[in-house]
């Protein structure tokens, strides 16, 4: 086999091209691969259980600090909510008067994260809900903190989600404060980048980035993250922002798939 090196290299190149031109454009073997994940997922979960417990013990101090901080934040938000509830009621009355129908609640499916692709090149997770539960390709995936990603592949009871930080992910977005619009996409660094902002955009570090109405798969006003760096694009006259996602992907356990 290794005696005819040039000939074998040509064969391998042929196989490479074959895979690229045919298999990338079809959904062949998708179910086979998703079924295989089930076999890997169960032992992985069993092996992960003691590690999770050890991690909890090791990071006890940090968790306790986080608990104290969140407890304070909760008290503050409860206090604010008392004042807000009156505003909400008033708003509802006025909306009724104006016959202004808004649909803020979306039908969604809760799912558990059962695996994560161990690759540095792509950021994907596997969730335990699929076509049986109404999930379709391209649906938005979120959690309480903000945008998580998009459904990329669907099996009968398992799906793959491409994360916000994956280089193949992109979504139309807005800077919440200034309403400047752009396109957010993932990078290999684990952060996101917002491109195509107008050169005169008044973006500042710390500005919140949200999904835009222009997005076909995401509802508008979902939090994507926060601007952490701003620089001018070298390719075109526009501003580029680096965004720290609101969601902590390493701690992702449950997500919501928006059935829209």
């Amino acid at each position: 086999m290794f005696k005819n090196l040039p000939r074998n290299l040509i064969y391998l190149l042929f196989v490479f091209l074959l895979f690229y031109f045919f298999l990338t454009r079809t959904r062949l073997f998708a179910d086979l691969r998703l079924t295989a994940i089930r076999f890997v997922e169960t032992p992985a979960r069993l092996m992960a259980r003691p590690l999770k417990e050890i991690k909890k013990i090791l990071f006890y101090q940090r968790t306790f600090q986080e608990y104290k901080r969140l407890s304070k934040e909760n008290d503050l938000l409860r206090a604010r909510f008392v004042g807000m509830s009156e505003v909400i009621r008033e708003n509802a009355r006025l909306e009724k008067l104006l016959n202004f129908k808004r649909n803020l609640l979306y039908a969604s499916v809760a799912a558990n994260v059962i695996g994560r692709n161990p690759s540095q090149w792509n950021d994907t997770i596997v969730i335990d809900r699929g076509a049986k539960h109404g999930i379709r390709q391209g649906m938005a995936v979120v959690n309480a903190l903000g945008v998580v990603g998009k459904v990329a592949e669907v099996g009968s009871d398992i799906s793959k989600v491409i994360l916000l930080t994956d280089p193949q992910f992109s979504v139309a977005a807005l800077i919440q404060r200034t309403r400047d619009s752009g396109l957010v996409s993932g990078t290999l660094q684990g952060v996101c980048r917002m491109r195509y902002l107008q050169p005169e955009a008044q973006v500042q570090i710390g500005d919140k980035v949200i999904t835009s109405k222009l997005s076909s798969s995401f509802p508008d006003s979902l939090i994507i993250g926060e601007v952490v760096a701003i620089y001018e694009s070298q390719r075109d006259p526009s501003v580029v922002c680096e965004i720290q996602p609101a969601v902590k992907f390493s701690q992702l356990e449950e997500v919501l798939v928006i059935l829209k």
Binding site: L23, T24, A36, Q120, W121, N122, L188
Partner: protein, 161 residues
Amino acid sequence: MRKIFFILGSTFIFFLLELLIFNFFSQRFTPHLMLLLIVFFYLSWGPRHSLFCALWAGFLKDCFSVTAVGSYTVIFIWIAFLAPVIGKYIYRKGSVFLRILLVFILLGVEFILQCLWQAVSGHLEFSVAVKYIFLPETIITLLVTTKMFQYLRKCVLKLSV
């Protein structure tokens, strides 16, 4: 037949290990255990077993990926194919340094193939990929190479008894 089962089992276990390290410890500093296994089987049992390992490891990796079907399989087969070609020129039996050098070169080859794959799909930032993927992965993989090879060698010796 025992060798085949050993390859299937060890590849599966090391894949789980890679999955756990990636999810629980460090995403950047995850050693490329699959590549180490491919090289180990080439050095111990020859190219055919190495190719078999590449095929199985590639399939497992592809299950979790949303990129082109079989992208990892193709890349790992290339690695298994190039390991004997490169090894023939640089590797001398018993030399730890040359073994690490072989792993280093194959990590470079794998990185280039991944870059080509990413470039075809239009998402490649080469300098970022070198800084955030190649360097950390190479450092940690080379650090664990000797220990992992020693451990696998013991398992293989037990298997042959």
